[in-house]
Amino acid sequence: MGLLCSRQRHNPADSEENEQTAEIDRRIEQETKAEKHIQKLLLLGAGDSGKSTIFKQIKLLFQSGFDEAELKGYIPVIHANVYQTIKILHDGSKELSLSLADPSKFMISDENKQIGEKLAEIGGRLDYPRLTKELAHEIETLWRDNAIQETYSRGNELQVPDCAHYFMENLQRLSDADYVPTKEDVLYARVRTTGVVEIQFSPVGENKKSGEVYRLFDVGGQKNERRKWIHLFEGVTAVIFCAAISEYDQTLFEDDNKNRMMETKELFEWVLKQPCFEKTSFMLFLNKFDLFEKKVLKVPLNVCAWFKDYQPVSTGKQEIEHAYEFVKKKFEELYFQSTSPDHVDRVFKIYRTTALDQKLVKKTFKLVDETLRRRNLFEAGLL
């Protein structure tokens, strides 16, 4: 700047050129400052752990949300979820009726057999038809069949998506001719993420000057997607690791022989040990708490090898809390096991989340933001 000033004094004839140069320099400086302040956040986790749902929530909270075109863009996804779900349940009931001790429980009633075959055929097509009222009615009939309900109760052995119940109960609304998905519908819609998606947002605080800029990256969680993660590991401010705690009795989408909780455990360990993350803050989201609440009273935690030393103490709400604390403690232990002593000062926080609950996500993210800001000030020596 000083040099420019002196140049301006000495060469009044080139004042316009100098002004332009000054403008460019100013812009460059602004951008470099801005770039330095962009904080990189990564959403990591195994497949189906809720990363993309959190991503959508952040979009809803801190950006202009979804416009009508975007909402309508989710209609094929929602319809696809419906067809896929009913096909999985139908095929699952057939499989279970062959292999179990009580096969009659899983035999679809005669009047619904034809509907079942038709829907299974539709579900196997490349291009799904639009969900008409007629089809919705047929799907609902099949859904109410006892065999299908029994199969659904054993959904953990098949790959039934979590949104199954929600969409099946709302079929009438989904099949309206002028249906526009609600925000909730979009949050429930399930599509495996492939590759990397990013958004940049700025949750401005009370004092506008301190507006941090965050760049959030969402990735796919399945095994083949993880080889792409390495491209994102440089210069990360914080990793938001999503772990679905309700999945302790389910197996992986990409590998029927691996328990999901064990996979999450190994993945978390691997992420913690990455050399790029020595100074990175870790926010562990223990996600899908709503499903965990319902499941833990029916299915004991010890079905998962990692939780085999769990002892239930009571029933009802107390039991749920106890189970949750047990899981949280396991993750804490894992964190300290996998962190070398010289890195223990990096930030590690655990949050209980339900990614579908907007208020809860907002509150949680606020806490995350506070933690990160505090960390920044600490690093800058102001705290």
Partner: protein, 450 residues
Amino acid sequence: MATCAVKGGCPSDYVALSISLLSIIMLLAKATAPYLIHKIPRPKGSSFWLAAIQVFASLNLLLSIVMALGFLRFRRRYWWRSCYIWAVWIEGPLGFGLLLSSRIVQAFQLYNIFVKRRLPPIRSFVLLPLVLLPWIVCATFIHMNKPLNSRCHMGTRWIIPVICLHALYVAALVGFTGAVRHIEFRFQELKELWRGNLVSICSVGIWVVSYILNEIHEDISLVQIISRFLVLLMTSVLVVAFFSISISQPLISLKSLGKKDQQEYSMMGRALGIPDSGLLAQRELVQLVDSNEPLEKLLLNRRFRHSFMQFADSCLAGESVHFYEEVQQLDKIPVSDHVRRVYMARHIIDTYITPGATMEVNVSHRCRQEILSTLDLAHPNLFKNALNELMQLMKMLKEEARIKTVDNELEQSGWNFSHRLSSVHCADDPFHQEHSPRKSSSSSRDFELQ
């Protein structure tokens, strides 16, 4: 006084020795040339190891013949000149037996893939010791009964069953070659196979005769000299001819031999001669923003497909589109052309389906298992389910691309994507709204910058 017929060291012996040395050098040169000279990366897996085992076995065979039949004149009796080591163990299970067994295993895998059209059910590493078992049993039996005399000859009673075992394995190899003879291999493997087999059988025939003569007529020195010479000569010819038959990695031999019709084999599709492997029929570029068309139709348009592929690659999701493209190429091969279909299917499986592959795609466990355990690699609908699953993912990608074009104002020349980025400054300020009315205790904490 012992003549050279008994003790070894005749001029013909030295000639035979030098020929065998030459053949060893040629063998090693042929084995390593593609990797050292043409700098082709070493293939992983059983094909490399089977070839390495064959080289090893060939060397053993030559060495055992030299030592057992007494070509070299040694002054003292060393312990390592024991007949049992050379004539029985190294010639049998570690030489001839190993050589032929590894060939049989290779032919068996080939038979599986091209005749039965499925991925090999038994791994080579399990199969090879099994096929080698009779040799080990035989060698142990001979070792226990010790029928060899001081000149390493077995005598008529023992030589017949031993030769039978040799002949049996040769017959098995010929049998497998015969089983695949009606397949028109793409890369001229069969011609080479037959040629190699012919040479091998001739040399083995002469070898057998000479060996028997050597064993039986111990007293006639001329027979001894000539038969010894012939045995070593035929063995040398055999090992070199045998190795020249390339069965499993046609592309490597193609690259290294530098065929006259030098074609670009960078893409498997081109190598198999699928028309327009990198191009599609000329069609005008229809308005791409007309995204009401289903994705399947849009992807048939080459320019759209390449543009979409570039976009997908930029967000690290490109493998699905590449997979789609290669399956399209597979579908172009006529259903009757089994061999080409099998080659292409194997290539797709190795690149996209095998767990840990470089461009592994995101498909379910069930889908992957169905493909890997298929009974027919040339089946037209082999990859249909995988394509269905991936089409859903690609549709989502297309949605994001469409949203991006709306945000970014479509440019005339095409799409310009480097990120799926949408940076919007916050219009709605949830934190601010929460703070101002309530002035909660959390906000009165110290860390707000003044």
